[in-house]
Structure formats: structure tokens, C-alpha cells
Amino acid sequence: MTPTDEELVASYRAGVEAAADELVRRHATSLGRFLYGSGAPAAELDDLVQEAFFRAFRGLDGWRGEASFRSWLYRIGTNLNRDRFRRQKGRQMVPIEDQEIPDHADPEGEAGANEMETRLLDELERLPRLQREVFLLRAQQGLEYDQICATLGTTPGAARVHYHHAVKRLKEAVG
């Protein structure tokens, strides 16, 4: 049976270092994609994700399990990304087309999807921060609203309102 995140955390705290590897394997990629959608440059994703895990593991004594490990980790990653934004006082987007994109079997379909994603990224940049983060946590990461609350420190009602406004604005802009 696959251990839960909370069981892995307990194992890690009991000295099983491999449990940390499994937690990283489970969440590193999705955290990186969330941070990228939230405005982190692709070139900084490795460092941000690494720092988020480092702080999460080192701060486990401060995590009392009210929120899931994932919410705790994303909370730390979100704060790191906000700090990065404040330091740089602006966003330096690395266009997705500048990345090393692997070949795909359906180039026309992929091109259309890439175009939609690129437009979405552009419009996400224009959203207020909380709307952007709530939208990504819901639409990209599939989090429930109570998990979003634990991640962003807001209320379920506020999270729903932010999501609704984000969708409304994105529909108008991206269509």
C-alpha cells in the first residue's frame, strides 16, 4: 500500500531519509509548474523548488498537520516566489517557446495547445496575485478549496470569489 504524505513525513522524522526522496519525487514537478504559472522564471524553478523543500523539511517541527504536507510545501513555495517578486520588483517571463520543447506526434494539435497556454500565461501575469494563485491551484493543481485556503491563508468563500473573478477575466481576455 502506498504511504500517504503524512506517513512519509512521520518516517522522515523517525530517521528514514528515503521518505524525503519520495516526497520530493511526488511533488517537485507539480510545484515547479505551479511556480512557473505564478510567474517564476523557468531558469529559477530548480532553485525555488529546492529551497521550498529544504525549508519544509527543516521546518517540520512547526508543521502540526492542520494542513496537508502538500499545502504546507506550496505555502512555502508561494512565499518564496512572492519574496523573489518583491526583490526583483517585476516579472521576467521566459516565453515557453524559448524552452527546450520535445517533439510531439501531433504538431498541429500541440501548436494550438501551446498557443492557448502561452496566451493564458500572458493573461495570468495581469491578474491580481491572489486570483492568479487561486486559479492555478484549482485549475492546474486540482486542489479543493479547503486545500487552497490552507495554502494561501484565505477563506473558502474568498477563494471561490477569487477563482470566479479570475475565470471571468481570463474568459474575456483569452476567450
Binding site: N79, L120, G142, T155
Partner: protein, 174 residues
């Protein structure tokens, strides 16, 4: 809950690979609003998917090396409560800066009559009257992007030194 709301609730799961029921598929085909939201959710699910993935094995090795090398120090962790407090202070300080700037513009400096009572009706007192949910909403909408882009002539928080910020905050306590 309306059919559109039900569909909206299900979209993240659908984007992750689940299947629509026949009723949901029929509604999606006939509702332009839901179809537009579905396109957004699908696109969001793909954001970052074409990037060179972060390497969990490399990250894991680095994190473990750092954990072994650096002793635990809670001061470097970002606790949830302090993040919330920091946001409160940012919002409060930004409100203070804004009000001080407005005062400077609309009311020229005048000798202070020590017999006058302390100013009332401040932004701070208005904030204090808000419920926690209302305060959460107000502060939640206060973006660092907005804070970092003050109106012309109004100093931004980033322009203040620590001492200046402290003075601004103290001005609200007196």
C-alpha cells in the same frame, strides 16, 4: 447548485483525465460559458508541462546535503502566521503612507495646537472595525504589485527606510 456550477467543480478532475458523464458532456456542448471555462482549465493544466522538468533526484540530493550541512534554524522558515502578520503590516503601512501623502497634498502644514485632540477617523480605526473575514478580503486584494506601484508623487514602501517605516507605523499608534 446550477449545472454550470457543478461542471465548474468537476473541471479540474476532468483535466486530470476523468471522463464527463453523458449529461455533463451534453451541457458542455450546449453552454458557451462552460466551454470557455473548460478551455481555460485545460490550458492551465498544461502550463509548464513542456518545460524541462525539475529533476526530483537532483533536488532531493541537494536538499539532503543541505539538511546534513546546516543545523536546524527555525528563523529561516516561513511560518504561516508571520506571513499573515507581514501582509497585515504591509497593508497597514501602505494605507498609512497613502493617507499621509493625501494629507500632505490637501492640507498644508500648520502649527499644531497641543490642545487639540488626536485625529480621529483614521484608516486604521476603519480597518479595526472590519470583521476578520472582511479584513482578510481587503488585505488579500492588496497586491505587492499594487503596493510596489504607487501613484505619481506618492512614496512607495520600497522607498522607505526601516526607520521611516517605523515612524509611519508609530504615527498610527499616537
Amino acid at each position: 447548485m446550477t449545472p454550470c456550477e457543478r461542471l465548474s467543480e468537476r473541471m479540474p478532475a476532468m483535466a486530470a483525465g476523468a471522463d464527463w458523464t453523458p449529461d455533463e458532456a451534453a451541457h458542455l456542448a450546449s453552454c458557451p460559458d462552460c466551454a470557455a471555462e473548460w478551455r481555460l482549465v485545460k490550458a492551465a493544466a498544461g502550463v509548464g508541462g513542456k518545460l524541462p522538468a525539475v529533476d526530483p533526484a537532483r533536488i532531493s540530493a541537494r536538499v539532503r546535503a543541505r539538511l546534513a550541512a546546516e543545523p536546524a534554524n527555525e528563523s529561516t522558515v516561513i511560518p504561516i502566521r508571520s506571513a499573515r502578520r507581514g501582509r497585515w503590516l504591509m497593508g497597514l503601512a501602505a494605507a498609512a503612507v497613502l493617507v499621509l501623502a493625501v494629507r500632505a497634498v490637501v492640507r498644508p502644514p500648520a502649527p499644531v495646537d497641543p490642545g487639540l485632540a488626536a485625529p480621529t477617523g483614521t484608516v486604521l480605526s476603519e480597518l479595526e472595525e472590519l470583521s476578520s473575514n472582511e479584513l482578510e478580503s481587503v488585505l488579500g486584494d492588496w497586491d505587492e504589485e499594487q503596493v510596489g506601484t504607487p501613484a505619481a508623487g506618492v512614496p512607495g514602501l520600497s522607498d522607505l527606510s526601516a526607520d521611516e517605516l517605523e515612524r509611519v507605523l508609530r504615527s498610527w499608534e499616537t
